[in-house]
Amino acid sequence: MANRIGVYICHCGTNIHPKVDTEQVARFAKGLKNVVASKDYKFMCSEPGQDMIIRDIRSWSLNRVVVASCSPRIHEKTFQNACLRAGLNPFLFQMTCIREHCSWITEDSEEATLKAMHLVAAAVQRVNYHEELYSRVQTVHPDVLVVGAGISGIQAALDVAKAGLKAHLVERAPSIGGHMAQFDKTFPTLDCAACISTPKMVAVAQEPNINLMTYSEVTDVNGFVGNYEATVRMNARYVDLDKCTGCGLCLEKCPTNVDSEFEEGLAKRKAIYRYSPQAVPNKPTIDKDSCRVLNGKKCGVCEKFCPSGAIDYKQEDVEVKLQVGTIILATGFDVFDPTPLKQYGFGRYPEVYTGLQFERLNNAVGPTGGKIVKKDGTPPESVGIIHCVGSRDANHHPYCSRVCCMYALKYGHLIMDKIGHHVKIHNFYIDLRCFGKGYEEFLRRVQEEGVNFVRGRPAEVTDQALTPEEQGKLMVVCEDTLLGRNLRVPVDMVILCTAMEPRADAAEVARIFGISQGLDSFFLEEHPKLGPVSTATDGVFLAGTCQGPKDIPDAVSHASGAAAQAIALASKGETAISPTVSYIDPDICVGCKTCIGLCAYSAIEFDERRKISVVNQAMCKGCGSCAGHCPSGAAQVRHFTEREIFTELSGLLDPLAPRSVVSTEAEPVV
């Protein structure tokens, strides 16, 4: 039986019509083979538009539908659902775009109409060969894997646990807490970061629904939405956490000092160390790169003094496999290293700090016990705060890091609060971006406290004195772009508001989890506005700053959003998997195995008995690498078969009719 195709041309108000003569296109389509109904209408996606299609499918017994309107990325689902409501398999539908790719971009009306006809002809020819396809329903494993236990990962894991589901929380560092645990106070409320984050850290440790794995890394992920298998390597801590009581005697006795990561290099730690004062779990770890015993030297002091016999130099990395349904990535950010910006003298002048170093300097459990002092132990009399270091800079990161303005204001306030209001604070800014709740009010408050603001990006920080008054000071050299004057501002201390940047190993992590990075190298969300939490890989969600710079409230909301997505999938218990995957025709396959090497998802196996390759449809993502390469043409992606593409090409390329047809009223000849 011949196909019965219905073609529907949308005006999209005035977006497509009159640039494209939709009436003419509809008339042209009516003349195409197997087309029994062809109509144009004001708004095809509207309720009456969809009803028209549904009515026609029923009354004309249509078995194929073509809609020419906007991009299929916008309304393909809408029309597929309309087909479904009329009892037609949604894959017997083809949509072609005559708005974004035609009416909106073509100057000449005649040319636009002609192009629309070709596009419609291609869709009509192609739809003839569409097959009925059925989405597979896949059960979703209820467990959730959360990667990274900063504030985002903690929030996501707690939300998942609260929903009664199991969360595996994997953290690379020996303790959870992330960057937030390093902060002192948080803007604009000035409540201390530890006071609000440590209760959450403890809640994670006590939550029975959370399987906490610190000092661990996800090394491999296999599977697909609802059924992922993650391999987690639990790095050897050389301390038996079950035996260790956390007494801390080993920390006192260890003879090896190294720079502390947590203190941003402002203090030393031992080779056996507790990651942070509020670490969860609050037990030590041996750093195998610095420990004398693990590097073949004589020592063993910690083992000798440990009262509970918890030190175990023979401990080895352990690999575990986790079955989960969904994955939340909360891997956070790195702080921009300002060393390449030589003009600011970071690393050269001891009194130039990064933002995060200053957080530690200011922190009550930090290296100075919360006293803001220079390296000589005296408090600074003047401080220069340089904004946008590494951000909004064509040479480094073009984006705005979103938090620096606010923490710079906070530093100004805290310095005055701790040392006294006589301290001169100079902010060197490009723009002040105080966009959050209560942020503008905080700016006003800090301005009223007497903090100085200079609009201009400093050219350099130097200790070269030009006058006796400048002796012993760091000079911030800058043009005040509001006054139009060059300034040399003497200060005792400089704080660089360093950018937030993607983790150094973001590309590797993206590869493991099968997601992409944006142009800025942060992980790419599914849609910048309407899908900021999901990724193009089903079942993998993003939380917090791994997706882009965020402040704490935004990171927490993002994390709760990611948790809600994961919980939604688990709570439904099943998910539909697209049927547009690859298929290898067993009668054609010669068993050359070319496709097996090409498949990026290891979704093709070799059937030794039949000597042919077979696609595991649950693992195939439908990329078509196999189909593009198969020398015998046995591998085909459903909905993108060779016949479908060939007929589409015919529609695009076959001469329609003499071009004069477009401008006359005559019925097109086909």
Partner: protein, 140 residues
């Protein structure tokens, strides 16, 4: 004589270049009407047969465009396309087609202007190159 208007087929990947084309449309970036898009899921699924079929059925050029290296939605499909295009270009030369009639580009989802420029540039280039040699090869 009337100016030569080439017909160009573009195989674009759903995740990057097709989205860029949408974006170019949304921003009303004027493009030559000569390029007609075929939406593929990935440039990795563009069979060499499709390119040859297009060139032998009246297309004066073929554009293949996908995600930037490293950004492929399917991990590495675009690398496979790159290898294939390299090989295909050689084959085109042997059969007497100008290899410039096959072009491969990477246009990310946010690069609408890049897409519009590529389209207009390609149309200009192919106009300069003239009609496909395929007709005179007797392949039509």
């Amino acid at each position: 004589m009337e100016e030569f208007e080439p017909t160009i087929v573009a195989f674009v990947c759903n995740w990057c270049t097709y989205t860029a084309a949408d974006l170019a449309g949304t921003a009303r970036m004027v493009q030559s009407p000569n390029v007609r898009l075929v939406r593929m899921m990935c440039t990795g699924m563009v069979d060499p047969k499709y390119v040859i079929k297009a060139l032998l059925s009246g297309a004066d050029a073929v554009l293949i465009s996908g995600c930037h290296p490293g950004d492929c939605h399917y991990i590495n499909g675009n690398y496979k396309a790159r290898r294939r295009v390299k090989l295909l270009s050689e084959i085109l030369t042997t059969v007497g087609l100008d290899p410039r009639r096959l072009k491969l580009t990477w246009i990310g989802a946010s690069e609408g202007n890049e897409f519009a420029e590529t389209v207009n540039e390609l149309v200009r280039d192919i106009k300069a190159l003239g009609p496909s040699e395929a007709a005179s090869l007797g392949a039509m």
